[in-house]
């Protein structure tokens, strides 16, 4: 009896460690499974709390020791009591923080648009160290997305996230707008290595079996030795030399059972052999970006698309469609799988909870700002009112439209579920806790 209870105690202790660790970085864990321990709220009861910031919240919340950590586009990094929504600390950086923190060994790691990468004391917010990259920037190209004039270099307004770090084995890894993937000593911030790609890296690297996997806007997806920073293989995604719309890995990968899954702006989801980079299968999404990071659970891959607004589940081994549900609006947020429920944010200001098996909508929550529908950004069906919104592709008009689109409270943030509470950020400037 003692033996059995001892084993049970050990198992439960292990489970507790795993479940806590699985909430402390982007997509939960270093392999970016996007799966979280239950229970999952199958019904919406109430807003537990909402925490105001000074600007949009694109960052995804993470959880450690009853504290929620996230970045704000107001330039702050926040620590908030998970139970009450009261601020524990905030620390200012010199730029927006649309990156998701990683928390490990009492330290919060996060990057800012100021081009610096920060390590804060998780309890107090005190700065431990900061590291200077060669500077942040958004993906940019001439005539981007068909915007005019076509010889004008335009920064991509949809390159909205910064790379979120992954922390493991005494190192912290992240990508940068300077085109590098960095490995830093987690304790000191010293550079261990950097790996140069051909363009912006704003995806979050996944780490599995000593290999770091991440895509770049240079159209390549890379496998890098996490210890040495040497390239193991690269995979070539699609290119779009004309309008640079169907190129680049904005999606962060997920690794499971020796396979790397990643979305791509070339409108595919790819399954690649983690050892060789050889393509196992791909799913084409009718020219719609897949910016969302796939989640992998129960032999299935969960992802969402932008323009075609599809919520899609495919078989992890074959890529064959299992569930395909037409959503209302674009999705950049990544699905969180919690038992039999999948949560995802929608850019029309809605958090959706769907049945994991059928994809049917269980409940949704719409932020107030989206219900006001300023400037008729949305149709009455809560789709994007595209002809009304994107009425010109000349000069600054598309950027103004994009700003209007963002201001309605879009949920770019990927939801985090802890103890039956769903946490996520909105571009209305709030971090929400729903139960």
């Amino acid at each position: 009896m003692m033996k059995v209870s001892g084993v049970l105690f050990l198992l439960s202790a292990l489970y507790a460690v795993t479940s806590i660790n699985a909430q402390s970085m982007f997509r939960g864990d270093p392999v970016h499974s996007g799966t979280y321990a239950g229970p999952a709220p199958r019904q919406f009861h109430r807003v537990k709390w909402k925490f105001p910031t000074g600007d949009r919240v694109v960052s995804s919340p993470v959880f450690k020791d009853n504290v929620i950590y996230f970045g704000g586009d107001d330039g702050n990094v926040y620590a908030v009591d998970a139970a009450t929504g009261r601020q524990i600390w905030k620390r200012e950086t010199n730029g927006p923080v649309p990156s998701t923190p990683a928390v490990a060994d009492g330290t919060v790691y996060i990057g800012s648009y100021d081009g610096k990468f920060y390590a804060f004391n998780a309890q107090t917010g005190a700065l431990k160290w900061k590291f200077s990259t060669d500077g942040e920037r958004r993906f940019e190209a001439k005539g981007l997305h068909g915007l005019q004039p076509k010889n004008q270099t335009i920064a991509d307004p949809f390159d909205i996230f910064l790379s979120s770090p992954v922390a493991a084995n005494g190192s912290v890894y992240f990508g940068s707008g300077d085109g590098n993937v960095y490995a830093l000593d987690a304790a000191t911030g010293d550079l261990r290595w950097k790996f140069k790609t051909g363009d912006v890296v704003h995806a979050s690297p996944a780490l599995a079996d000593g290999v770091l996997f991440v895509g770049s806007w240079d159209s390549y997806f890379y496998a890098i030795d996490a210890a040495t920073g040497k390239e193991k293989w690269r995979f070539h995604g699609g290119e779009d030399p004309q309008i640079h719309n169907q190129v680049g890995f904005q999606s962060s990968p997920s690794v499971a059972n020796g396979v790397v899954y990643t979305g791509c702006r070339d409108s595919h989801v790819y399954a690649l052999d983690a050892a060789t980079g050889k393509e196992k299968w791909n799913v084409f999404n009718d020219l719609s970006w897949v910016n969302s990071a796939p989640a992998v659970a129960d032999g299935k891959v969960f992802f969402a698309t932008s323009d075609s607004s599809l919520y899609h589940v495919v078989d992890a081994a074959s890529g064959k469609s299992v569930v395909r549900q037409q959503g209302k609006a674009w999705m950049f947020s990544s699905p969180a799988v919690v038992g039999d429920v999948v949560f995802i944010g929608v850019l029309n200001g809605t958090l959706e909870a769907r049945d994991a098996k059928t994809g049917d909508l269980l409940w949704d929550f719409k932020v107030d700002k989206s219900k006001q529908n300023d400037g008729w950004v949305l149709t009455s069906e809560r789709k994007f009112n595209e002809p009304f919104l994107f009425r010109s592709n000349w000069r600054e008009a598309p950027l103004v439209a994009n700003d209007e689109q963002i201001r309605i409270g879009g949920i770019y943030s990927s939801p985090l579920i802890v103890n039956g509470v769903a946490y996520f950020g909105s571009t209305d400037g709030f971090l929400y806790a729903l139960e």
Binding site: G143, G146, L147, Q148, K150, G238, E239, D240, Q242, I243, Q246, D266, L287, Q372, N373, D374, G375, W376, T379, S380, E381, K383, N385, E386, P387, F388, R391, S392, N393
Partner: protein
């Protein structure tokens, strides 16, 4: 009532009704300017309405939306009600009523959203009419085919011109991953330049006949790709 008296009364009613209708038509015909009050914004709306051979015609201007002289459709004028629509991607409907102050007031509907709208007459109508198809040269009649590459795969294009008494029409088909029959709303030939427009899809072709080939470019919104069409083998 005697039969002549009844007849006189009927004639009087018809005259009064006709006069009222003429007055109502006069009231509705004109340039109307005002705003639609959408949340956190105010749209300027300018509408021109007129009668042409007993049929209502009109066009609309919405500054800032790239809408200038777009034709009105489904116009019904049954005073005091004045209703019309603007087809195309915006898909606007206006349901208005002439009020006692000679203003047109009602609703501006778009994509299921509704905004209160009031328009005030500011002058005589300045209705714009859409461009019309022109005939194309005899040697262009028939089917032309060609290919272009985009995003790593080939699209097959076919354009078939047919002349009619009131201008040419064209069948415009692009086959890539899918078979796309594009709705064509304008076919013109000006000098030797031939243009086929599908405004709804954003595709257009323009080219010139050179050495038996129709040489030009296909355009999809802002992307222009060279394209040479050759006469299809029959």
């Amino acid at each position: 009532m005697t039969r002549p008296a009844a007849l006189m009364r009927l004639i009087a009613i018809v005259i009064v009704a006709a006069a009222l209708k003429c007055r109502a038509d006069d009231l509705v015909s004109g340039r109307w300017e005002g705003t639609a009050q959408i949340p956190h914004d105010e749209l300027t709306v300018i509408v021109d309405l007129a009668q042409q051979n007993g049929v209502w015609v009109g066009s609309i201007i919405i500054p800032g939306f790239g809408v200038k002289g777009m034709p009105l459709t489904d116009i019904t004028v049954q005073p005091p009600d004045v209703n019309f629509a603007v087809k195309g991607s915006l898909g606007i409907q206006l349901k208005l009523r002439l009020d006692a102050n000679n203003k047109l007031a009602g609703n501006f509907d778009q994509a299921g959203n509704r905004a209160p709208t009031t328009l005030r007459k500011t002058g005589a109508p300045q209705v714009e009419y859409p461009r019309r198809n022109t005939p194309v040269a005899k040697e262009l009649e028939g089917e032309w085919k060609g290919d272009y590459d985009m995003l790593g795969y080939t699209r097959h294009v076919s354009i078939k011109f047919v002349n009619h008494p009131d201008g040419a029409t064209a069948d415009f088909v692009i086959v890539g991953r899918k078979h796309n029959v594009l709705p064509v709303d304008l076919v013109t030939q000006e000098g030797d330049l031939v243009t086929v427009d599908s405004h709804e899809t954003g595709f257009s072709f323009e080219g010139r006949l050179r050495n038996g080939k129709l040489t030009g470019a296909i355009r999809q919104l802002a992307t222009e790709t060279p394209l040479v069409l050759e006469r299809a083998k029959s």
